[in-house]
Symmetry: C2
Subunit: 234 residues, 2 copies
Amino acid sequence: MKYELYYWPEIQGRGEYVRLALEEAGAAYVDVARGSRGTAAMMKLMDGRGTPPFAPPFLKAGKLVIGQTANILLYLGARHGLAPKTEGGKLWVHQLQLTIADFVLEVHDTHHPLGPSLYYEDARPAAKKRTAEFWDERVPKYLGYFEGLLESNGGAYVTGRKLTYVDLSLFQIVAGLRYAFPKRMKAFESDITGLVGLHDRVAARPNIKAYLASERRIAFNEQGIFRRYKELDA
Amino acid sequence: MKYELYYWPEIQGRGEYVRLALEEAGAAYVDVARGSRGTAAMMKLMDGRGTPPFAPPFLKAGKLVIGQTANILLYLGARHGLAPKTEGGKLWVHQLQLTIADFVLEVHDTHHPLGPSLYYEDARPAAKKRTAEFWDERVPKYLGYFEGLLESNGGAYVTGRKLTYVDLSLFQIVAGLRYAFPKRMKAFESDITGLVGLHDRVAARPNIKAYLASERRIAFNEQGIFRRYKELDA
């Protein structure tokens, strides 16, 4: 079975967490909207009856259509050895992924504090305030939490010796913050040396390394979640 | 086994989605921080080693400590008949719950657009703008989606004839919007007659009815997710 991933073709966005899992697993998949069927195929599934997803990304796996990033990873994790096998382990890793999802929403809010449907330019003063709070309070709280988990288990990965989809997502968080806020992140990285090491270990894994060097990896840009706006990186 | 729910004792907040599920299921549970052990017991678990939750609510179920609202409901749903039994059904209901979680975050952002750590009073002008966008764009999009699901399956509940934890959460969404934005919601309700009917059906279920009339149901207030600020309900 070949998976079908449905996501916006021009951005990493939330689809990237799924792409990283599929790539690490070496799973066969089509990134549908980037192919000849385009976003029209994606819209068609969202307008359908039955179980239409609220928003991309979603994954077609045989007859199943699975939406919500963390939910897709819950499914893929169990099938491709990217999550523990025990019920408690599965729930723990999923819990961590949901915490990452909350953080991703807060990243998005730094440039869209007045709502997702407005243009960045119309919310710039509010974006500056929100970004200041984000770096003063939220980044230390979230990344400090994951740094603490890495420290306390002493392993190479967040749950210990074995990589899970959460590690792939944390790689993306570090990479994204480096792209969007190069100055702030540079100053902050000495507080999260564990996560920086994790980022490097993930980037060096053969499948991920090949993916990052390929055209399948879309470059960061200002339509995605992580956006580089100079005035927010004071 | 008696569940232990850990959540802030003064508010409904995100804990309420778990309380509603436990109550509907008739499950034995203690709302720990509301008892003599107080929030200190909650903080202790969050500071612990192993699998400390990032934030409340979390549920202690035997040896498991499960965090993130939707993750707790995933667990409870499977154990108490509040979710379908098939894998596809489980994932679908969880996906809907994660969409509700996104909406709840946006509700919170209406009064905290510049970040969760600021006081409402310091973000009032931004809150007005965010709330306008919320009602113009986000409420119709999210609630229209769930209204469409109800219409297309023709059932009493979102997945058909049988109640799931998603229905309990949608009850809370309707009740919360009515509390926080009485004028706006009154004008909007004719667009979501299906959800209003769902709200009433959930409220009339014996266990939920008894719960809502009990002291276990905390009243809405201005420390929770749904807050009534007159200037935001224009």
